[in-house]
Amino acid sequence: MKALAELKKSLGIALWFMALTFPVMVIRVNTIERVVEWRWRNMAFIGIGSFLLSFAWRLLLARKERGRGKTDTGDGTIPAVRRRLLAAPGIRQPALAALALSAAAFPFLFSSYQTNIMTTALMYVMLGLGLNIVVGLAGLLDLGYVAFYAVGAYSYALLNHHFGLGFWAALPVGALLSVLFALALGFPILRLRGDYLAIVTLGFCEITRLVLENWNEFSFGPSGIANISRPGLFGLRLTLHEATIYFYFIVLGLCLATLFVVRRLQHSRVGRAWVALREDEIACEAMGIDKARAKLTAYTLGAAWAGMVGVLFAAKTTFINPASFTFLESAMILSIVVLGGMGSIMGIVVGAFLLILTPEYLRAFSSYRMLLFGTVMVLMMVFRPQGIVANVRQVYRYRKQPESEGCAGG
C-alpha cells in the first residue's frame, strides 16, 4: 500500500520533529522558582502539526510527479490557455485598458498611505526589471545589486544637500554615476563565473554599505542625510497629499518606460547575445559574440536602473541612511526576480507586487514575515521552479520567411 507507506513516513517525521524540538518547546526551566515546567501540550501540537504538514507535502509532491508525466509542455512552449489569452486582441486590449485606468485612478480612490505603498511596489518592479537584465537575461548572478541602488540614492542626497541639485537633474546623474561605478567594477569581476561572481558582488555590496556607514565626512555615517527635496512641479507648492500623488505618477511613468525598454532589449541583438551567454559561454564566443561586452552591457544597464530607483527612493523618503542598503535588500530584489520567473517581465511585475504588498497588508503577521518568506521560497522552488509566470521565450525568426515555414510553433 502506497498510502500506508506515506503515512508511516509522515509519522516518522512527526516523531523526529517532536524529539528535535523537545528541549526548546517542552522543557522550560523557571530560574526564579527553580522548577522545571513540562509543557507536554506543545509536544502534541508539534507532533500533529508536523504529521499533517508532512503528509500534505507528500501528497502534493506525488501529484506533481504524476502531473509531470502527463502534461509535459516542453521547454519554452506556452500553456494553451495563456497563449490564447495573450494572442486574442479581444481580451488583451480591454484588459490592458482596464489595468491602465485602475493604475491612473488608484491615487484618487485610495488614501496617501495606500498610494505610498503602491509607489514602493512600483519601485520594486523597476528594481526587479533592472536586476532581471543581469540575472534573468544575461545569467550573471549578482548579489550586490543594492550597491548601485545606494549609489543612486546617495548621489541625489549628497548633490541635493551640497549643491541643491533638483530631482529631475539628479535622475540621470544618479543613473550615470551608477553606470560608471558598474563599469569600474565590472571590468575586473565579470571574468568570474557563477558562484565566484555571486560572492564577489556580495562582498562589494557589503563594502559599499560599510563605507557609507563609516566615512562620516562623506556620507554622514549611520545618521544618514535628511531633508532631501521632493520632486518639484514647475515651482508649485504641493500639499503632502498632492506630492504623494505626483510622485506616484512619476514612478508609474518611469515604470512603464522601464517595461517598454526592457521588452525592446529582450528582443534586440544584445538581448540575443545575452541568451547565448546564459546558455553556454564557450558556444557564445564561438558565435562571434563579444562575451566581455555582452556581460558589461547587462551589468551596467542593470546598474543604471538601480541608480535611477535609488534617486527615486531618496526623493520619496527624503531621508536615507546606510541601513536601507543591506544585503537583505539585494536578497529581496533577487527573490522578486526568481519568484516571479527569471527573464519573464510579467512574472517580475507579479513577483514585486506579491513580495512588497503582501507584507504590507499582513502587518498582523509581521513577526512571522521571514518565516513565511522562507516557506514560500522553498515551496516555490519545489513546485514551481520556473517562477510564477514562466518566461515565454521569444522565438527568433528570420525577417524573410520562406513560404514553407508558415507560423507554426511560435
Partner: protein
C-alpha cells in the same frame, strides 16, 4: 599564400604547457586533419586558433594577417568558425534559433535564410526538428546542428572538433560525407580534429599527427595511411 599558418605556437593552461611549438599550414580549399591520442592537444590547437585559449608564444596568420592576439569574436568576424568539442549547442533554443545564433554577426537576412535552407537540404532531419529545443535532439542530430550553426557564419575556415564523437558508425559516415560535400560545394576550408583516424584520413587531403603537444608526422593522407607508426597507433592495425 596559405589560408592559415601556425608558426611555432605554444599554449599554456596556467603552468601546464599544452602546445609545445606547433607549426602547420592550410591552403584555401583543403581539408586537413589533425589526429592524435587523448590529451595530445588537438582541442587546444583549435581553441588557440579561434582565440579562446590564446597562445603565449608563436604566430598565427590568417590570410596573411596576425590573429594570435585577436579576441575570439574578432576572429569569427574574420572568417573562422569552430564546432567545439562536445557540440555545445544552446539547449533551450530551438533548432532555428540555434542556427540564427550562428549567423549572429551577419545582417543579410535573405542570404541567411538561403544558407539555412541549404543546410536543411544537407540535414533534412534538422528541418523536421526545427521547432524543437536543441537539448532534446539526439547526439547525431546535435552534431549536425552544431556543424550547421557554425556554417551559418559563412566561414572561410571551419574548425571541427571530433564530429564523430559518440556517434554510431553509420551517422559518422554520413557526417563525414557531408563535410566533404560542404568542402566541395562551398569551397570551405576545413580543419578536422579526429580520434577516428581511419575515417578522417579518408576524406582529408593532408594530415598532421600530434603527440604531447608536438607535431610528429605530417603528409598527405595516402602517405599517412601507409605509415607503419600511424597504422599501429591510430588505425589499430
Amino acid at each position: 599564400m596559405p589560408l592559415l599558418e601556425l608558426d611555432n605556437v605554444a599554449t599554456f593552461y596556467g603552468s601546464i604547457q599544452a602546445l609545445k611549438g606547433i607549426s602547420l599550414s592550410i591552403a584555401a580549399g583543403e581539408i586537413i586533419t589533425l589526429i592524435g591520442a587523448n590529451g595530445a592537444g588537438k582541442s587546444t590547437t583549435l581553441m588557440t586558433i579561434c582565440g579562446i585559449a590564446p597562445p603565449r608564444a608563436g604566430r598565427i596568420l590568417f590570410r596573411g594577417a596576425a590573429i594570435e592576439a585577436a579576441e575570439p569574436h574578432e576572429i569569427v568576424r574574420r572568417g573562422i568558425s569552430q564546432v567545439p568539442e562536445g557540440r555545445r549547442i544552446f539547449p533551450h533554443l530551438t533548432v532555428t534559433e540555434n542556427l540564427a545564433m550562428g549567423a549572429f554577426l551577419r545582417k543579410d537576412s535573405t542570404e541567411i535564410a538561403r544558407d539555412r535552407e541549404y543546410l536543411f537540404s544537407l540535414f533534412p532531419i534538422l528541418k523536421e526538428r526545427r521547432h524543437q529545443p536543441g537539448g532534446t535532439l539526439s547526439g547525431g542530430e546535435q552534431q549536425m546542428l552544431a556543424i550547421s550553426r557554425a556554417l551559418m557564419a559563412r566561414p572561410a575556415l571551419l574548425l571541427l572538433d571530433e564530429p564523430s564523437l559518440g556517434l554510431a558508425p553509420l551517422v559518422s559516415r554520413l557526417i563525414f560525407r557531408i563535410i566533404r560535400q560542404i568542402n566541395e560545394e562551398r569551397r570551405t576550408t576545413i580543419l578536422l580534429v579526429e580520434q577516428n583516424a581511419n575515417l578522417a584520413l579518408r576524406i582529408a587531403h593532408r594530415g598532421y599527427v600530434l603527440e604531447n603537444g608536438r607535431i610528429t608526422l605530417e603528409g598527405n593522407c595516402a602517405e599517412l595511411l601507409g605509415n607503419e607508426e600511424v597504422k599501429r597507433a591510430y588505425l589499430g592495425m
